[in-house]
Symmetry: C2
Subunit: 251 residues, 2 copies
């Protein structure tokens, strides 16, 4: 078929595909999206974008990438259709292009979890007390919230909390946790959540709380998964990066 005719040196990639088969052209488009996902920094940026719309500057700082580098990665995400951007004054604000991107990231995570054995090693190595840090599922949490037997703790940075958080959650960023421990009632168990299933913030918050003698567990998912499940979300007026966040009044 097509491969044998192209055996004559050179001419690969888009040319080959467009010349030979409509299907390969389609697959090339799919591959472009997959390629955009195929870099850890871009996956990190996508998780940050899943918390809400943010400027290049904020994303570069949060991901630890240089400014130009973050910009280039974000452009890859935009060109692949995974993210979109809009200009707001001096800032360019990036966000995910839709909830299907979250679904795709979830599918990627599940497959990687199930098939890449090194992930198990990493989980045991880095998230060392993982067995002790048993997660609370979304459904469990909903039940526990209605009967008031838990305090819900959001350990993300304030700007991410402001862009959207679980109803009734208290926001104490990880680094302030020890100092502000008194803000959490001692009687009830604390359930902490952060950006997503493999965000370390919640793990470390739970570890820190237990060290202080508190009962604490981590929620299985992060904020984006909660929002995507159609569950209620609370929003504060945006602090940084003045954007027009159209939202229906709640609470």
């Amino acid at each position: 078929m097509f491969g044998h005719s192209s055996r004559t040196r050179g001419r690969r990639g888009a040319d080959l595909a467009t010349r030979t088969s409509p299907k390969l052209s389609m697959l090339e488009q799919f591959a472009k999206v997959a390629k955009a996902l195929g870099n850890p920094h871009r996956l990190d940026l996508l998780e940050l974008l899943a918390q809400g719309e943010r400027s290049v500057e904020a994303l570069a700082a949060a991901s630890g990438l240089s400014f130009a580098n973050a910009s280039q990665h974000l452009q890859v995400l935009r060109r692949s259709g995974l993210a979109v951007s809009r200009r707001n004054g001096l800032h360019v604000l990036y966000s995910l292009s839709g909830d299907d991107v979250l679904a795709l990231m979830g599918a990627l995570r599940r497959t990687a979890e199930r098939h890449v054995e090194e992930i198990d090693r990493l989980l045991r190595g880095y998230f060392h007390q993982r067995d002790a840090l048993e997660a609370v599922s979304r459904d469990d949490l909903i039940g526990r919230l209605t009967d008031g037997s838990v305090t819900l703790l959001d350990v993300r940075p304030p700007e991410e909390y402001a862009a959207g958080h679980l109803p009734g959650a208290v926001n104490i960023p990880l680094k302030d946790l020890k100092r502000r421990l008194s803000e959490l009632p001692e009687a009830t168990e604390v359930v902490a959540y952060c950006r997503g299933p493999y965000c370390v913030l919640a793990y470390e918050a739970v570890a820190a709380l237990r060290k202080c003698g508190r009962a604490a567990r981590r929620m299985e998912d992060g904020f984006p998964e909660w929002r995507m499940a159609g569950l209620p979300v609370e929003t504060d007026d945006v602090i940084e990066a003045a954007t027009t966040v159209a939202k229906p009044p709640s609470s």
Copy 2:
């Protein structure tokens, strides 16, 4: 593998690298899986693998790749956990590592469909009569099958048909369709299916049938989606290492 992270942290502060290090390691694993998806030939191979277990030789022939090249791509898929292989005599048989891989491919396709505008262009360009080739959904098809008002046509190659097909489907590969047209009853509508939503075989079969004055439509999905939905599947028992040379059944 982890070479770059320790070298470049001079200016942005070491805490970022340290804080996100376990997470970046996780993301690196996820990225490895995404990278494996990020090549059109490998996506093509994955779709072939979704039809059933097959030898490197058969996969190379079906995808049009050279032998060594197909082998290398398949090894990438195996290393990323998307595919598994087992030895059977002279042949090494590859297959998908699980149904979650199909789910991942589906999520990738949906995101690409929704966000990559070039795909629309391709659909209009190559699958030119697309509006006329309106698809039958799985549920519709199930209804139509039970009341006997359709003939179900599998246009994939015989070895893929043998590895699994929809109950009651007639197998006529695309290239034999004109010659074997008489095997299809004239009275009932024909519904054709093939490897998946963007496999061209069914599109072309429907176009060919209509040219001959038959009523024909294409099923929305292919065989793998049908099987993954838990719907009944028929298998011809004889295949194991199906290659171009038909071996007589020995067991």
